[in-house]
Amino acid sequence: MTESTVAAAGAWEVPDRSVSPARRNLGRAVIAVPTIALVAVAGIQIAHTARASAPGFANWRPVAYVYVLWAICLGIGLVMTKGERGKRALFVLPALLFTLAMVVFPTAFGFVLAFSSWNLSSSVGRQFNGFANLRQLFHDTFFWQAMLNMVYYVLSVLVQYAIAFGLALLLNQEIHLRRFFRITFLLPFMLSPVAVSWMIGKSIMDARFGPAAQLLRTLGAQAPAFFDRAWPARLSIMAMDSWYSIPFMMILLLAGLQALPDEVLEASKVDGSSGWQTFWRIVFPIMLPVSITTIILRTIFELKLADVVINVTGGAPGGATDTVSSYIFRVYNDRSNVGYGTALAEFYLIVIVLFLALMLWLSSLWLRKVR
């Protein structure tokens, strides 16, 4: 290692000679005292929640106040003990503590609930019930129907991708009114899915008065309906979902297309490549990273699909259009079954994490192979 590289590496190391031992000790105390207070207050409240006869607070608000106080003291304490490095930590600390409070803690608490029987109408409140929720989940036909539906919905992302790519290619050309079309194609993405549900699902596709059904009747269809049987209903949901989601994919892909190096495309033209050859051998491979990112992002959104289903079909007919989220909504919202609803949500979270990890791993393998 040369002296210059050592110097470069050391540029990030700031000596904390300015921190005196006394200040460091005081800083440690500033952190330790609130930490003890936080542990004590949280412990008292946990004991009180577990056994009502134990002393405690009326609600969890005091614990939240002590947490905020602890967070502030932690920041002060870090500066006092670490000097410049402590100041740097302050840039990250608020985000870290916020994530801890708003993401990590609820998720961990969710796991506690997932192993509980907690029906909101029950006079005995939450009770630990071991793996009962998990056993129920494996025998729940509605849940597994919803999981199967999710496979169909996620597969529809590939169709959405193909359409979005086509539209992006179109809008990347020097066509007339290009700006107008770009804005027009983006409009559905600006609409709320709830508005789409009512405008399209409940109005345009209404079997009695909707213009889409009227049109089909004019074309000779007998009693057209979009949501009366499993596959037409599922496809109708996919169509609505695609209508407002394709623009999102399209805009990402369009950005990718606009970043393509002109010289490569010009070279292929000079070499006499046809349009298809240019697309298939040059544009598509270069666009692969953008495409994979787009598909993964869209898949994450798709896995959370719920609003359109809840508003338009409520999972009907017979759970054929249910998504896992819309089913969890019913279990939690309509049946007040917090324990089982949370167990479903946590289980689904694990499935999503594993699925996305697998997807990312496969895509990186594929990209490496292509390159």
Binding site: N119, A223, F227, A316, R335
Partner: protein
């Protein structure tokens, strides 16, 4: 703008005509058979109340429109008398009330807001509204109660939730002065205690009467072409309004493929889509005639074990009925919820028979979307030629004829005040004053006659002249009121259990029913699955406490 038949809202009203008419109505009811063992006796309110009713029934006035916000504000102001008699001006200055209710169909909270505007101005209190959709009501309410995060001082609530609220000691008992102001004596019999009470204490200001009645298109069943085709096709008996579910099934199958007024004709309209638990009531309306055996108060559960009766042959037959007739109903009926069926389809001219709460009656003549004026009539829910006896486990034909069992779906809305308000005497009194205003005698006549989300619930509401002076055709309104009255007073009416978590049972059933309607499982499997789900819910809430509360709600 829809075409109106008849002189709706066209004649001026005078106190004399109202009083004269109201008195005459009692005689007319008696003559027409409305008064009697199975009818609600129409009473006349006190003169001062009558005077207010006389004024408010003119609002919105002759040949106009659906009542507007401003119309309802006027009604609220004219009904302030009882409040002014008890509360001093600005007595509640600085008091803030949080009121939770529904925002359905531009009624409920929309109506309350307008009614209470003048009350707020007079008393100085300020109301903050928590508006919920019907499908979100149960969850918001349950979560608030269970997690101790009650964010309301008073609420609009149906009697089925009393187990959840009053059973946990969260209600404030009704003060005596409120009982006097709202005159609880003239409530219809089925809404009197034990409804609204818990352990003998009254908590509820009733503002609604609920039951499912049978709404049908009279023009269909008077249609000569349909009658002739019915005879030719070998239909049993004359072409007439079905009075049993067996006849409803036959008529629905027959009507499919026919035309009435050049439009595709349809028979019965089932509600098949899950609707936050409220869809259950429509299935229950089909099942009560099969399942509610005369003399046995219970019909959903065994009162000693809470074992569900849903897998009995009675309920299985009702499920099978829906499965059998669904292909003959309008396209996409499987995706229709209650609002779609009642307001989009029936009022919009699609279908000829549907069960609903009493909202359809006034809505036929007051909803801007109704196209069925002059074509609709009413009866109690159809009966059945035979009924299942759970004791003998056999179908029986009663010597008295078909078994009728009107479904007292939801037992009406009421206003309840939370116990927590008792810590602040002014707040508690202000809440009860709001309840008394909304449940007042005069205002209730207006809410019965106009679209408000509420139906007749006092004996005085059955005075036909009030309704004819508003503009409803006499025959029409007599048919409507008779269907309501006969349902309320039926000796074999199916009363809903007021037990905690009742909507969980309904919601679980809706999901399974939807599966059966979609052809994914047969009727018996569907019923067995509902039964299993209900057993789980009972165990989750606590079987022993549910048995105790179920027995209490049955009055045993």
């Amino acid at each position: 703008m829809v075409q109106r038949n008849g002189p709706f809202l066209s004649r001026p009203v005078s106190r004399r005509t109202i009083l004269k008419g109201a008195t005459g109505a009692t005689a007319a009811f008696a003559a027409s058979g409305l008064v009697g063992r199975s009818a609600t006796r129409a009473q006349t309110p006190a003169a001062e109340v009558n005077s207010v009713i006389e004024q408010i029934l003119k609002i919105p006035g002759a040949n106009t429109h659906q009542p507007t916000q401003s119309d309802m504000e006027k009604v609220g102001e004219l009904c302030l008398g009882p409040t002014k008699a008890v509360i001093k001006p600005n007595e509640f200055k600085g008091v803030g009330i949080r009121f939770m209710g529904l925002n359905n169909q531009n009624v409920h909270d929309f109506v309350f807001r307008a009614f209470l505007k003048s009350w707020e101005e007079y008393t100085g209190a300020k109301i903050t509204w928590i508006d919920l959709s019907q499908a979100d009501y149960n969850s918001h309410f349950q979560q608030a109660v269970a997690t101790g995060t009650i964010d309301f001082d008073m609420l609009e609530m149906g009697a089925p939730f009393e187990g959840d609220l009053l059973g946990k000691g969260l209600g404030s008992p009704m003060p005596d002065w409120v009982k006097k102001v709202i005159n609880i004596d003239n409530l219809v019999a089925y809404l009197k205690p034990p409804v609204g009470t818990w352990d003998g204490v009254l908590y509820r200001t009733t503002i609604d009467g609920d039951c499912h009645n049978f709404n049908y298109r009279a023009d269909y069943f008077a249609d000569k072409d349909l009658a002739s085709e019915w005879t030719k096709s070998g239909g049993q008996g004359d072409w007439a309004v079905p009075t049993t579910w067996q006849q409803v099934q036959a008529a629905t199958k027959f009507i499919k493929g026919k035309k009435v007024d050049g439009q595709d004709a349809y028979g019965y309209l089932d509600v098949c889509k899950p609707w936050g638990g409220f869809g259950w009531y429509f299935f229950a309306s089909r099942a009560t005639a099969y399942a509610k055996y005369p003399g046995d108060k219970s019909w959903l559960f065994d009162p000693t074990t809470m074992k569900p009766r849903i897998s009995d042959p009675s309920f299985v037959r009702a499920i099978q009925d829906v499965i059998d007739v669904l292909p003959d109903e309008p396209p996409d009926q499987i995706n229709a919820d209650g609002n779609t069926t009642g307001f989009n389809e029936f009022l919009g001219g699609t279908g000829s028979m549907c069960p609903w709460w009493g909202d359809i009656g006034p809505a036929v003549y007051t909803s801007d979307s109704s196209v069925v004026q002059g074509k609709v009539a009413f009866s109690i829910l159809p009966g059945s030629d035979d009924v299942y006896n759970t004791k003998t486990q056999k179908w029986e034909k009663l010597a008295s004829g078909p078994n009728f069992a009107p479904n007292m779906a939801y037992l009406g809305w009421g206003v309840y005040v939370m116990k927590a308000t008792e810590k602040n005497a002014a707040l508690n009194k202000a809440c009860w004053s709001v309840a008394a205003h909304l449940g007042g005698e005069a205002i209730s006549q207006w809410t019965s006659c106009y679209p408000s989300g509420f139906q007749p619930y006092r004996t005085t509401h059955f005075n036909v002249p009030y309704w004819t002076e508003v503009g409803y055709p006499k025959d029409y309104i007599e048919s409507y009121l008779k269907s309501q009255s006969d349902s309320y007073n039926h000796p074999n009416s199916a009363i809903e259990p007021r037990i905690p978590g009742i909507f969980q049972y309904y919601s679980a059933a809706e999901d399974e029913l939807a599966k059966a309607y979609a052809g994914k499982e047969d009727a018996q499997t569907c019923a067995n699955n509902i039964s299993a789900a209900w057993e789980k819910i009972t165990d989750g809430i606590g079987r022993e406490s549910q048995i105790k509360l179920y027995q209490a709600s049955l009055g045993s």
